[in-house]
């Protein structure tokens, strides 16, 4: 559950120690300068909804999760993440609009869950 006035959890991504390039990771070499010095960094779990889709027929390993909504969010730091909507929309009207402000609301290793920012609800 998200609390209206709390900051969302941070997202762990990668930052190149040589040139500062950010990347969602995992990645062995910096995509800009090819340095192997990609280090973990925490960035604010806030961004904008790029698009979402409702997966009604999951592959075998995600059968138990279905249906679930995969979402692409552009974090304010400029990094694009693929995760899920924390709440599966019942219909189109119940879903956040494209471009809506989103915040990280939880998730597990490597998979972020996003919810609309409270002021956008």
């Amino acid at each position: 559950m998200t609390l209206p006035f709390s900051n969302p959890p941070d997202v762990e991504i990668l930052r190149c120690a040589a040139c500062g390039q950010l990347d969602p990771g995992p990645r062995e070499l910096c995509p800009t300068c090819f340095s192997p010095r990609m280090e973990q960094v925490a960035v604010a779990g806030r961004g904008v909804l790029v698009s979402w889709t409702l997966v009604r027929r999951p592959p075998s390993r995600f059968q138990a999760d279905g249906p679930y909504a995969v979402a692409v969010v552009d974090l304010d730091c400029g990094v694009r993440l693929t995760g899920r909507l924390a709440e599966v929309p019942n219909d189109e009207a119940g879903a956040p609009a494209l471009g809506a402000r989103m915040r990280l609301s939880g998730g597990t290793a490597g998979m972020a869950l996003f919810a609309p920012e409270p002021e956008d609800l």
Binding site: P24, G25, S51, T53, R57, P58, P59, S60, V72, M111
Partner: protein
Amino acid sequence: MRPVFVAGIGSTAFGRHPGTAIESLAIRAADAAIRESGLDRGDIGALYLGNFVAGPLLGQEVLAGLVADGLGLPQIPCTKVEGACASGGIAFRHAFLAVATGMCDMALAVGAEKMTHADTAAVTSALNCAMDFRSDGVSGLTFPGLFGLAWRLYEDRYGATRDDISAVVRKNKGNGLKNPLAQMGADLTTEEIGAARLICDPLRLYDCCPASDGAAAVLLVSADRLRDIAPAPVEVLASAQARGSARIAGHPDLCTFEATVAAAHGAYAQAGITAEDVSCVELHDCFSIAEIIDAEDLGLMPRGAGAAYAAEGRTAVGGDRPINASGGLLAKGHPVGATGLGQIYESVLQLRGTHPNQVQGARIALTHNLGGTGVACTVNILRATDA
């Protein structure tokens, strides 16, 4: 690089082939291509076989060698290539290069897949091997999902409606009715398409290509073999391949595939033509929205115009930009490793003037085969010869 020509083609029907081994399908298609050419199979210098999911779905690898064995080919290099749904197009390109570079005078490209014996979850899982399982794959994203994301963004940006995009489905399903190799041609109304069950919102049932069994093959030769071949030769003007991001995070825009744009650019340059010169196109419509994005990426129409072109009949067989006269993946079917070679098969028939859904006066044909999240793409351009 020297000129390369199509000497023979073969294909099974795409669809359900219960009880027929994948090797049998591949050998049937390849043997037909060799026999049609009238050339001696003992002169074939290389075989490239496109296949994607025989490992997970059949537990069978080394298909290139198995198929060559069945065909009775000499002790030539036989290589399986894999690039997800672009595997067939990549096999074609390798055979093209083998002849173009002078490595051999005759090379065989074969594509084969067998999927319909497996249930949907197993097929989805096998196809999902083309996801990056250190990034997008972790979210449970599927390939219908990737195109669901693209659709939602596309309709938001360009104002295309459900009914606009349904025009692609109506056209391709209708084209499929005229193609004896097609798995599921149909005469569908816009209402039926829009009311079908949701698969991956906003994608509905008819927006998605079926799982299919099938095989297709193409025999390529150098110019000095042309005097010996039976059918009218078709020249391969270009065969280009490019990579794109393996991850959604790497795509700056979900409404375009940079691999398609790069491969198309390369192919047009190799062929010395522009999109304006293309008579007919077989492109990778794994989903209805994919046809629109692909066509725009190939430069066949302006950005945002893809759905309107379909609705106005401009991409129909009689239109000024005929796309997927075969029925495409949506209607002809998508035996993934065979699809890229099936596109060549269809295009060669068009250029010979013998296609069951003929584009009148077709002179130059383009094929487009896209793999994974746009991680691999091939674009090939073929031309009728006046010989």
